[in-house]
Subunit: 139 residues, 10 copies
């Protein structure tokens, strides 16, 4: 796989198709251009999904994110478009994309978009006490 | 668009009308006057909404917030009024406005108001494990 | 309104009777006496309510809290009593009082009490992704 | 009440029997012995309950915790036993005991056990926006 | 029990079979190898389960984790496999395994997988106000 | 003292002239206008000083801050000017003003300016272990 | 020692007179009255000192703090007075009192005052890397 | 000033030449390319300086940062080069540039470089107790 | 080495006698008895030292801490005594012991005591920018 | 450069030899074996240095860390040895290595070791107000 920006997302087969499990990926290195001013925009993207038959390959996800570097996109639009691209190649049971954009005009904007496979519903959540994780070391 | 305070909120067409998606905007620069004493009040406003046909334009939202600078308003009233104004121009599927006011008389006051479009109901939440976001850098 | 401690809570008319909205007030300055030892007790009180026809007036809430300064009260009892007083004057759709007492005997005690208006039920929660608020400035 | 360790838990009458309210107590000073090695174990215990006719008295709770100091107990077992003891004397509508043990073998273990009174069910939660509490002072 | 890596997980009898209770274990010391590059991978594993007849023994859990040190595994695969191994020996009512992997290619990946015993359902959650735990000391 | 904005800062006599002691005041409610665009700017101001013969009166400090509401000022300039005004009326042994401005153009700016009385020098710092303060309550 | 408020501070002999060591005490339960309005004021006091021949007794420190409950005091004045009282009975090598007052008029005020014994100077600080303490438990 | 990337840094006259004061600017939007692989790199830059005759203009600083978007640079080199550029146009009394790069190969790298004007030395620091800033609102 | 409480501290030879290096150990599991009331006291101990010829052995340090479990000790006294014991067996170039005791009477007490070898002085600190450590994983 | 573990550390020429600048690298992925028990140990390593003629190459640093995976080392020893290896290849003006080991026997151990080039001394620190960095996004 060449290390150049690409809109092609690679996938690999879900190693546990028989189970609804949750993959969470945090991509801090997203940048595109503002379509009105041409100036750079920045965001952290967070991808949560329950795979069906395929999973997103990590390195191709990185190269895909790179492919937006020279393109102009509005916040609300690009979040939905990236979700659409990811859904198209992975056809997941569930996928949620969260985009946290850097401040513009003194206002912080985040966008959250979801896709659900037709006919799929999650098992009801087993709602346990939650414990906050800490660092593995002290200081 | 002139850079002067205005009660006119600009909108743009929702880029993904077919999907219920969530826009979160944090506006830290709200100030008005106390109608009893005339002294300045301050708040951070947080807007969460699911657009229908239109979205709020970022810069006009900033100028709209500016328009309260010389006006007298009570906390509970102004939160509901701003929600009403935003609902009128965007007619969203769902909108929640959270106002966090600076301390007065040693007491901290926050107000949360919501609007729901008639007949609209959210898809049931897919309740995944949540992971706390950190800074992209160390130190 | 005189600035002396008082059990009289002032109210003002709800500015948006047609909407269930949420008022959150944090009162860090509560102190009373331990009825067994006479020694001072301290707590932070947090009031969350959905008003019906009237709202609690901020300054009178402060003077009301002051009125406990010379009185002896047990933790579990005083939390319920303050809720009762607040419910009596505001007759809210919903009210929750949270009292966080300072440590006694090495043990931390918090008490949470609620009142619901007969026949009132909340609209089902629209459960959006939540984003943690930060300071408006850096450093 | 003598200040010596005791398995006897004192109670007092619930001051507001007509209301389901929540008492949260945090007990940081629990220690017992490992039944296999005899070495000290430590934990923070957190008690959440909705009282029925009686409440746990604070000082006797402290002396009760002290009574485990010379005893050998496994983590999963002692958490359930303390819950059983507390349920026996208070017969609460609901009680949850959370034990957070200090690290052993590089692994952190927490145990959560609950009791519900037969026939009791909680009122459906009124799910409000939650605000994080801060210190009452700056710095 | 010898202190060598092993795939054999030891168990002990559930001390309170009659109650659904929750055991939370945090295992910060997981490492295996990347099957593509042979380079080390690292993760923190978090195990949440409701035991049925048996519980996982702490020390054998540690030795089991050690057994992955020389093996090649993909993130999504190894999380499901460890869950499968733990389910096989403990046959729990419910089990959730959360794996938080160290960053690779600038992207952070977490995987969450669950198992539920056939016919088992949790009691509906009693949803109390939650209070954040702090250190037992100051400073 | 009337509750209107004023450039007049009130003072009161230092109650302990014989000791170098430190007063720290945090003023979150500063706003002025950008002299180039006329748009509102916001900042939190932090005042640290060692008084000589007089101290700044709290309420007049608030009214003084209010007096900038309709004025145009650059960040670097206004911080130095406020320090000058405070120095003129209090003639302190030492004064440091820290201004933390809200983000502009995606860049966060803070300005720190100090004044020292001629001939004054601080006693050498007694450098003790520092302990971080926590909230007085739990949760 | 009776449990009533008192201005008398008890002491006990320094157990290690031959060493400069540091005692840090955090007293969250301070309240007095505003001398202008008669309304309650609140603060957290932090005492750092290097004892000479005597140390402050913990319980009497608590009763001493209680003695301010009915008295009117200004922030800057009361901090210096408490330091003076503590210095008079303990004659320490070094003492620093930090008072963090609750917000008034939207402004947070802290006061820090120090006393040094004539002729005493601290050993030069051995300035090691500092590590931040965490809770002893997870979650 | 046109909104295009530029290596030209604009300045304005220091409004308070007679005082050593400190300007802190945080620039979260830096990206360049890795000279070895051509892939994007990201960093947050933090600029601390004491101006002499001129200050850096905010908007030109942003456009200057933009100018690195298409250029290949190593971490250690680009930090020193940006400091050199800033020093050349502002000739400050003191300047420190801190670059916090996003993780590469699982390792986090920060670089800190400083410039001091010949013959300039800072006034000795007045080392006061430091208080941590919090958000202006609650929750 | 038997796993029973002991006052005997084991040591091992310093592996790098030619260098002043810093060992930091955090011991969260300290408990003794109050000599006045007989009730348990708890603390977290933090040991910072620069070894000379010998270092403290980890497991014996744990068993030494255990040896205080049945003994009565005052806070200020026990901290100095433990430091004395550690100094006696390791004769370090520098040692600092920090004891953070659990709250008593609503007051938090920490004690810090140091020992320096005669004639030893630290190299002057190289005072670099400090960066805060984060967890190795996200969420 | 092959991707296999190696004790050979690669370097590259310091791009700014004329300036004392500070490189900070955080390496979370260190593991070796306990020489007594053979069990895995884990640590996060933090490297701070001021280069002279050469800098450590990032990827070789990672492979060097990997080389300890199968080796037995004590905490205090391995920290000094890694520092020695790094000093040998880079001959820095100053280097500090901080190792934060995972908990063993309930005790957390960190080790800090430094090297200074003969005759080198740092410029005196310009001690500015420090501001805490936050994430680039909200929530
Ligand atoms: Ca958190
Ligand atoms: Ca840590
Ligand atoms: Ca957070
Ligand atoms: Ca950071
Ligand atoms: Ca801060
Ligand atoms: Ca929190
Ligand atoms: Ca605070
Ligand atoms: Ca702490
Ligand atoms: Ca802090
Ligand atoms: Ca709290
Ligand atoms: Ca926690
Ligand atoms: Ca918050
Ligand atoms: Ca920290
Ligand atoms: Ca984490
Ligand atoms: Ca911090
Ligand atoms: Ca941010």
């Amino acid at each position: 796989m060449p290390s150049t920006p690409t809109k092609t997302l690679e996938t690999f087969p879900n190693p546990k198709v028989g189970r609804d499990f949750h993959i969470h990926m945090e991509v801090p290195e997203f940048t595109c251009l503002c379509p009105k001013t041409g100036q750079p925009d920045f965001a952290t993207l967070i991808l949560d999904y329950i795979p069906d038959k395929t999973c997103v390959e990590l390195k191709s996800l990185k190269l895909y994110m790179w492919s937006f570097r020279e393109e102009g996109h509005f916040h609300e639009d690009v979040t939905n478009r990236i979700l659409d691209d990811l859904v198209k190649v992975t056809k997941p049971r569930f996928m949620r994309l969260t985009a946290k954009f850097y401040v513009r005009g003194g206002i912080f904007t985040n966008v959250v978009a979801e896709h659900r496979k037709k006919g799929w519903a999650p098992a009801p959540r087993v709602d346990l006490t939650q414990f906050e994780h800490q660092s593995n070391t002290r200081g």
